[in-house]
Amino acid sequence: MTGEQEFRGIESGPLFDRTWHIDRVEGAAVQGLKDTSVEPLSEPLIEVPDDLKGNLVVTSVDALVNWGRKSALWPVTFGLACCAFEMIATAMGRFDIARFGMEAFRASPRQADLMIIAGTVTWKMAPAIQRIHEQMAEPKWVISMGVCATSGGPYFGSYSVVPGVDHIIPVDVYVPGCPPRPDALLFGVMELHEKIKKYHNLRPGSRNVPGGTLAAENP
């Protein structure tokens, strides 16, 4: 028996019987996530390990580290619905996201810093989004693009759509619009840059500055 035949042997039997348990497990995961994600999550905070708190003071290094982080935000290749096309347009020559050092859309979440939630988030997709977000290495940021990802938008109150992706993962910047034009997405990206610039790395109680992205001073 060749390997392929063996594989077919395992795969034999009615389609329904072969796949039914997979669907049940998936359904239980989706339903579990839906039942537990009733409140939106707050803005994400960067945690500093306890043994570093108070031991290290970095001041002007902050500026350098933050500049490095903001200048090479690599997004994960990830589009969910119609908004994804505006994200693709943003990456193309006319708008050219490469100007911000972001042209490298990574196919692996391990290599990405930024997740652009471009489109409608359904409950069936939610576990996958959550897993990809967890797979991304810190520091990581999330942009919610379009009203669908922000609040459910046109599908608000629908039986199948997550009422805002912030119910399942924390979001840094919201870009409204249906879909947002590429320049709106670029503005969101620049807002995120401003936010990253204000991070205090390793300072006691270090966390991102609360209270919006426009009002704060550069460290």
Partner: protein, 147 residues
């Protein structure tokens, strides 16, 4: 060239000869077929050289509160005509009718969609389960009584 739309009466005439007791009624647009006869009727519609409906455009369903219509849109590219066949199911609970999966393979996903959103089962379908919503979802959301 535009496709000629066959009237329900024309379809009903052909069906009445070939599949006895299959036609419930017909009007200018479509023909209502006895639900239990839908698979045999579909076989005839596909294989009859005069009708030659090799292509199934869509299966959909309509909720009329006290009954459901399952709608089959058919096209023949060789004969350049199209037709609409419906099957009316009465009641709201445990509705089912025979699957046309063996006649048109394209019915596979569409019948699952009708089951998922409208709650009409297709007997003889090899993989009759939800397609878009997850297993464990409560209810069938395109029904008029779904809130």
């Amino acid at each position: 060239m535009p496709f000629q739309a066959l009237t329900g009466e024309a379809l009903a005439d052909r069906l009445a000869e070939a599949v006895p007791d299959s036609v419930e009624r017909a009007d200018g647009d479509c023909v209502w077929v006895e639900p239990s006869q839908i698979a045999i009727t579909a076989q005839f519609l596909r294989d009859d050289p005069g009708l030659d409906f090799q292509f199934l455009n869509a299966i959909s369903a309509v909720d009329f509160i006290d009954s459901f219509d399952v709608v089959y849109h058919l096209t023949s590219f060789r004969q350049q005509h199209k037709g609409v066949v419906k099957a009316r199911l009465h009641g709201r609970e445990s509705l089912s009718l025979p699957s046309v999966y063996e006649v048109w393979r394209g019915a596979d996903l569409q019948e699952r969609e009708v089951w998922d959103l409208m709650g009409i089962r297709f007997e003889g379908h090899p993989n009759m389960k939800r397609i878009m919503l997850w297993e464990g979802f409560d209810g069938h959301p395109l029904r008029k009584d779904y809130l």
